[in-house]
């Protein structure tokens, strides 16, 4: 899945943020906060071909119901698409 905007992931005080770079600054209101799972998914995005691969990786790493993970991944990806990051 292709990340269209230049974003750098930063850890600050134990929390994870995305910092927009270059022209991505024009479209953002600043920083984006990532939850722990959001940060985990973010790292998977460049290699993932579809949402199924992300769901499988999350299920491997976390003890959670597949239906819940699938819904959360879909929501996360949809948010990124809405922000034109993906």
């Amino acid at each position: 899945m292709k990340i269209k905007k230049r974003m750098i992931k930063r850890q600050i005080g134990g929390e994870t943020f995305l910092v927009p770079l270059g022209k991505a600054v024009y479209d953002s209101n600043g920083l984006y906060f990532l939850t722990e799972v959001g940060a985990f998914i973010w790292d998977l995005l460049p290699q993932a071909e579809d949402e199924d691969q992300i769901v499988a990786a999350v299920l491997d790493a976390y003890d959670a119901e597949e239906a819940t993970v699938r819904a959360d991944v879909a929501e996360f990806v949809e948010k990124l698409r809405g922000l034109e990051i993906l």
Binding site: R10, I12, G13, F17, V19, L21, K23, V25, Y26, L31
Partner: protein, 368 residues
């Protein structure tokens, strides 16, 4: 139309609050140079030389920024002097962006044209703050030493139209007081938020000459005039009544243990790196001072936090009825009086006159 002041993004507030708990330097101010192509008399740093001995190299700035980033810095403000006089500005700017810092710039705007403007539009900062010093060329000549008004306005317009987050800083002095209304009009025409201040710190870093600022009463009247411009009559009236209500507050007994520490983020989650490598809590204060180039940033930051935490402001200010109105702070106290715990008379007079003048305008408007 009245442009509302935009508040700080929630995540920035959150990061500073978390940073204060964890001791992180969330925001850094990088005074890249002491040099400036303007020569505003009230400024605390504006050397005219082509080169200034002791000014840090690009490599040193990038190294310090990297160390600060590793310690938790996310917001970086590049300032000066005029940062665009540095030929290696883009090397520093680009390197800091690539570190994942949200870089903002303070500039007088006069050098933002041609390739500099193109580069800014192609690779925009998180925010750019332009100092607008007047509303015509004549004021620019008398205050800044050169007639750059038209080019500065053109730069602001180009940045704004391209979508760069652009804001105006307005320093009100005897040299541009007559332009205040015009400056407001320009900000409205351009659709750019403007923040004005008529309080000028004594520039203690360059001798402390206060001849180039307004008297406390003049500064208060200018501040109230700015309030009249930026607020609707209803908001102004509400504010005038709120200010007036301070006078009704009963003074409590003064005690030495009521003194307070630094009330802002200086030395708590933010720092100021001077052009020569000294690190201060804020750019207005002469100290405490640490040396991150010699000590390493992390150790210098820890020392700065420790020493800033020792600062105490006057106990009289803690119990003053006008406390919520007055903009005094440790930096105001130390630059006005030489000590952080001594009451700055200038601030007292300015605050009293602000309350008086706001009430007078409010009453006058009520009478129609």
């Amino acid at each position: 139309m009245k442009t509302p002041a935009r508040s700080e993004p929630i995540l920035a507030t959150h990061l500073h609050a978390r940073g204060a708990r964890l001791g992180l330097p969330i925001a850094g101010n990088f005074e890249l140079t002491a040099r400036c192509n303007f020569s505003c008399p009230m400024c605390y740093v504006h050397k005219k030389d082509a080169a200034v001995p002791g000014e840090l190299t690009a490599e040193q700035w990038i190294s310090l920024a990297g160390q600060a980033r590793d310690a938790g810095m996310i917001f970086a403000l590049l300032t000066g002097g005029e940062p665009f006089v540095r030929k290696d500005f883009w090397e520093i700017y680009g390197a800091m962006q690539e570190m994942g810092l949200m870089v903002s710039i303070n500039s007088n705007g006069s050098l933002i044209h041609g390739k500099t403007l193109e580069r800014l539009l192609a690779d925009p900062p998180f925010r750019i703050n332009i100092s607008l010093y007047g509303g015509c060329e004549e004021t620019y000549r008398s205050m800044c030493g050169q007639a750059s008004f038209a080019s500065v306005v053109e730069a602001i317009r180009a940045l704004k139209e391209a979508g760069v987050d652009t804001r105006l800083n307005v320093s009100i002095t005897p040299y541009n007081l007559q332009d205040l209304d015009r400056i407001w009009e320009i900000s409205q025409e351009l659709g750019v938020h403007a923040k004005a201040t008529s309080y000028m710190y004594p520039p203690v870093r360059v001798g402390g000459d206060t001849a180039h600022r307004l008297s406390p009463e003049e500064a208060a009247k200018a501040a109230v005039r700015w309030d009249m411009l930026r607020f609707t009559p209803e908001v102004f009236a509400h504010r005038a009544k709120a200010l007036k209500s301070c006078e009704a507050v009963e003074l409590r007994e003064c005690a030495a243990d009521l003194s307070e520490g630094v009330s802002c983020r200086a030395g708590s989650t933010s720092f100021w790196l001077c052009w020569d490598g000294r690190m201060l809590p804020c750019g207005m204060m002469p100290g405490p001072e640490v040396r991150p180039l010699e000590q390493g940033f992390a150790q210098a930051w820890e020392q700065l936090r420790r020493e800033t935490a020792q600062i105490r402001t006057p106990p009289q200010c803690a119990v003053c009825p006008s406390r919520q109105v007055c903009s005094t702070c440790a930096a105001v106290c130390v630059t006005e009086t030489g000590r952080t715990d001594r009451v700055p008379e200038y601030a007292c007079r300015m605050t009293a006159e602000t309350i008086r003048e706001s009430w007078r305008v409010y009453q006058e408007r009520r009478k129609g």
